[in-house]
Symmetry: C2
Subunit: 353 residues, 2 copies
């Protein structure tokens, strides 16, 4: 598959990925290659990755605990400390080999270590391949608040090796697939239609490429999130609040990111039907597509109040207003819609129907 | 005094500073003004500062503990948490009112909160006025290692109000004065000569302006520290190691930054005389100037070993080499000089003479 060029770096796929990596390492003269992994990617991805590196470099591996609950400043402090102890210098490079936690946290650690060293992202989950490959968002959570601390900074390259998807459980694949469906909803009805009838993840490679292309088009047109880029937030305003709430709540099982935003997209599609002209047919099509693929979340009235309480912390807001991205139709998003307070509970009621 | 324009913002002085601030606040439409202070600037600077703000804005004050020992990630986490709790959004601004700890830490906190909000620096110490006003370096310490964590990011404006210097002890003024002397040594012999005969800090305003101009020229020519900007590191390679060591050591009193780099400049001037052609006369002039103004540090042999052990962590190094900025003469610096190991102890011996 063809490489995709972003504002300042390229996303390379499969065989071309390793070729590009080896060429880059050969010419860069890094002092040390630090590879950031979690327990899972240490076992399942690191051996295959290392086998593809041709040159003779000085390596160090840094391992963090897996899971969103460890995507925080304490883990950053451990990684910064490990880099210092292992004598990382400004000519070191950090290779982030893992899912979104590893790439988001590793990108932030690299961007802030000695005021910034090079980093390379090698996403190993479907979610991080399609979502974190372009855009330069790095960061960690602050308590229950997702991605409150971070910077925008670009990796020197991103390598997508779809073989790593074989190491994932189906639930993880579905989580990433939700972001791909979102790319169709906000931008490309044809892509949405093709995706929603995809039943075999073995055929997903070309679709991953398409999703990265869509996200890249959006980010290139609006790198600083003044307008178009906000459309990527469809389903995320409520979805993030749901994800945060379930992460912090002791009485609920944690939702994967895609599962939370799948619920968020159904809710926000309902708001779109109420406020921005999304047809009832398309609303039902959206709900039906997600309902078929994702378990229904059981929201109590208390849960809903708590979730709405978390909304105000969303990064997209200012001056106390909550701005939503909604849909006019499948493939067409609109920005900066304010929601009348009395629509939230009906949205959850529609979700539960 | 005339404002100084940097790459992306201006440094305003005294009356013009408050005028520029009021104009900026009037047009920016910030949702909330957060003012970051420490215990000292809360008492001595905040009332005077607030009295000069003309509009009617929503204010919140966040206070941190004073001192370099609190310039760390834990304090950042407190400030990030306070911003979240006080519902800071992307249209909030953080005004850092304090010395280098407040401006460096506050700049980092603002640059990373929700991936970056505006910040305004109001340095209240001589050191932060002449050193931290331009260049965009933000950051905090990691254990004993100075400024290991940070980003390069610019404030929206810097306000230098020299009245705040009246709140400082003489020792603090001398600490900042060391950076001004450095500006002369690396760049402008005339400025060095004028400064070294200055005996009354009441006459310092114009010199502050000159120092900011010098630093700004350097940073504008080399924003990413490829070459010229490295000259600002004169005295700092050993000076930072000395400062770190005294900060972490329980048996030594902590040195102020300027006191540590004054010792560093004498040591590195000795290395310059040995390696890069600095004359004995100018070396003695440099040592004499600093010896007159700064207390002599009593380095034991153990201290020296420990200090040299910290050198490898300096951010300017790569591939295990230690690169020094040295002088060819007063006003002329040279870059990337490697030091033969057997010169360090003679340098300390010269310092002690």
């Amino acid at each position: 598959m063809q490489s995709i060029t972003t504002s300042s770096y390229s996303v390379h796929f499969n065989d071309l990925a390793y070729k590009a990596l080896n060429q880059h390492l050969d010419k860069s003269g890094y002092s040390t290659l630090f590879i950031l992994v979690d327990e899972n990617t240490f076992d399942h991805c690191l051996p295959g990755f290392m086998a593809q590196i041709e040159g003779d470099y000085h390596f160090e591996v840094i391992e963090i605990e897996p899971g969103e609950v460890h995507k925080n400043i304490e883990t950053c402090t451990q990684v910064w400390g490990a880099l210092s102890e292992l004598e990382a210098d400004r000519k070191s490079v950090l290779v982030n080999l893992g899912g979104g936690v590893v790439t988001d946290l590793g990108g932030f650690v690299a961007s802030t270590f000695k005021r910034g060293i090079d980093f390379i992202n090698v996403p190993t989950t479907l979610l991080s391949m399609v979502d974190a490959s372009v855009g330069g968002k790095t960061g960690v959570d602050l308590g229950p608040l997702k991605n409150q601390i971070g910077v925008i900074n670009q990796p020197v390259m991103v390598l997508i090796v779809t073989e790593f998807l074989n190491t994932l459980e189906e639930r993880q694949l579905h989580s990433g697939f939700a972001e791909m469906l979102k790319h169709g909803l906000i931008r490309d009805k044809g892509y949405w239609s093709a995706l929603k009838s995809l039943n075999n993840f073995d055929l997903i490679d070309e679709f991953i490429h398409d999703s990265v292309v869509i996200k890249n088009q959006v980010v290139l047109q609006d790198p600083t999130e003044q307008n178009l880029r906000k459309t990527l937030n469809f389903g995320h305003t409520l979805g993030h609040a749901i994800e945060s709430y379930f992460l912090a709540s002791e009485s609920h099982e944690t939702l994967l990111h895609g599962e939370a935003i799948a619920a968020g997209m159904i809710l926000e599609a309902y708001l779109s039907q109420q406020l921005t002209g999304l047809s009832q047919t398309e609303l039902d099509e959206i709900k039906g597509t997600f309902a078929k693929r994702y378990p229904k979340v059981d929201f109590s009235e208390d849960d809903i109040f708590n979730i709405l309480g978390l909304l105000k912390f969303d990064k997209k807001n200012s001056h106390g207003n909550i701005n939503f991205v909604l849909l006019e139709s499948i493939g067409e998003a609109v920005l900066d819609i304010r929601i009348p307070q009395d629509l939230y509970f009906p949205a959850f009621a529609y979700y539960k129907e």
